[in-house]
Amino acid sequence: MDFVRDNLPYILAGISVGGQYALIAIGYTMVYGILRLINFAHGDMFMIAGLMAVYAVTWMPLYVAIPFIIVLTVLLGFGIERVAYKPLRSAPRMSVMISAIGVSYLLQNAALYITGGLTKTYPNIPFLADTITVFGATTKVVTVVTPFLTIGLVILLVILINNTKIGMAMRAVSRDFETSRLMGIKIDSVISMTFIIGSFLAAIGSILYFTNYTGVMPTAGAMPGLKAFVAAVFGGIGSIPGAVIGAFIIGICENIIKGLGWTTFSDAFTFALLIVILIVKPTGLFGEKNIDKV
């Protein structure tokens, strides 16, 4: 119990960061499940959502700004898919992935241009940014809210995927792209929907994440993005519960390592975990086994 008591602040921070990674990881895992594309621009979308909030609050009250940035992020995600990925639908997968890297490069440079390279401070959201004491550890409300909000959203998403028509279409497309097209599923609208859901969750993740770590800079999205992707691979890419569990494990481990004084290695640990899982069980915890046929 001593270990838990000493490390409680880190475990709490870990659960919270884990929830935020989970929200980003779902975007990765859904897009990968359907397009077989590592959407490298997803982490940068998350950063842009943070940046939009910084500028939005200077023009409008907070309760308008939050829905506004969520809508804008969703539109951005939708637009990126239409402009950068849709024309390459018949191209080799490598081209699409390079297009994603290009979008990421563009978003980062655009952010650099808009901010002038300065770190912007995320607006203070009342209630979420208040401090609270949990079991003797002082933290922000957002730390406690995040895991519940994440789990709530994931349950909603799972219901959407299992019980609605569009959800069924998504499952079909992720199983077999060509056949589902022959069965009359409108591939483009399914893919757009995937990007809309992914961007929506990334926008909410960015609100939670940046309330915790208030510095928004152009490269702020790169690391959380990569870690969320690792989480998606860890849980088995294409699997939503897998991504969420992977994200919580990575968030908690990372913060415990920070607590032990190994901050330099907190990022490296994530990747070490990734490499171990890739070598031991390449499909991840909950991934489906793919068999290559000649």
Binding site: R36, I38, F40, A84, P87, L88, A91, R93, M94, S95, M97, I98, S99, I101, G102, V103, S104, Y105, L106, Q108, N109, A110, L112, Y113, G116, G117, T219, A222, L226, F229, V230, V233, T264, F265, D267, A268, T270, F271, A272, L274, I275, L278, I279, P282, V294
Partner: protein, 380 residues
Amino acid sequence: MSKQKKWLLSCIAIAAFLAIVYVLEATIPKSSQWSMLFTVLEKGSIYALVAVSMNLVNGFTGLFSLGQAGFMLIGAYAYAIFTIPVEQRAAVYQYFDGGLVQFTLPVIVSILIAGLVAAAFAFLIGLPVLRLKSDYLAIATLGFAEIIRAIFQWNTLGPITNGSNLLRKFYTYDSALYPIIACGICIAIIVLLINSSYGRAFKAIREDEIAAEAMGINLFKHKQMSFVISSFFAGVGGALLAMFQTTIQASAFKAAMTYEFLLIVVIGGMGSVTGSVIASYLFIACREWWLRFLDAETYIGDFKVPLLRAGFRNVVFAVIIMIIVLFYRKGIMGTNEFSWDALIRWFKNLPKNIKSIPGRIKNIPNKFKRKSKKEAQINE
């Protein structure tokens, strides 16, 4: 044209190029804005070497590896650690009592060691990683590059790597010819390798792994070989980059750096060495030199040109890259290589092509119409 004649032409062209660089370097003062030309030549050559080494793995062997920045980091550090003069070590390693290594090696030896250390790391990393496929391989190599970066910033290794502090005061070159010739030799070696029977085996693996295996190619051996050799040259490239920058720090070798090389390889054409070289020079020239005017606030009379301020250059540059990625998917050269015959043919056809430009412009709307019709059919 006969083979001998082509060789002669190539030798003359290379000698002429080096002579021009030598003369320009002697005549252009360091302060003039034309001195950017040398930055482009030096950095462009180094980038060309790393891009070609990346092309060897990604374009010729078909392995999607994203570890190049990590191997460059190893090379840069290995080079710097062995060439800082002994009497300067106390100043550089000021937090670590002058560091552990208390000798210096000749420059050429250090560069080779830089490559060899990177290759050794690649060998160890390759053992588990090369059994993975496509995206998983990409993510695993990216992960290893990040781990390498963390290890080099680790304070406990400070006596060797200077922790997260700068390494500086190591030997640097004093003429632009140095990196050009060094990179030229390295690229020539890679080209020889690609044209050998090993190179053909790499290409066979790229086209179809199962078929290649059935033809008796040892998959793992050849993948490992391509990966290790590519890392060797990335390490050498890292050492040269350290010389170019005069200081190095582990935090600069991020995944973003690997993405730059990947973009260069794609712009030049996957599987074309000349493409990678041309793209590297264009990439560096655009980013560092030609687009620089976009960063300066400009006035035409009293009118302030909108949007122009620091950072706009990179936005425009990124947009150009996106256009190339979306519309010129095969890159500048596709999978073709430079040849004198093709160049001569191009010049011969030039008058005809210029004449046909007005006709082709007229045709553009038709092309779109036809295309959209075709798409409509497919969608139906």
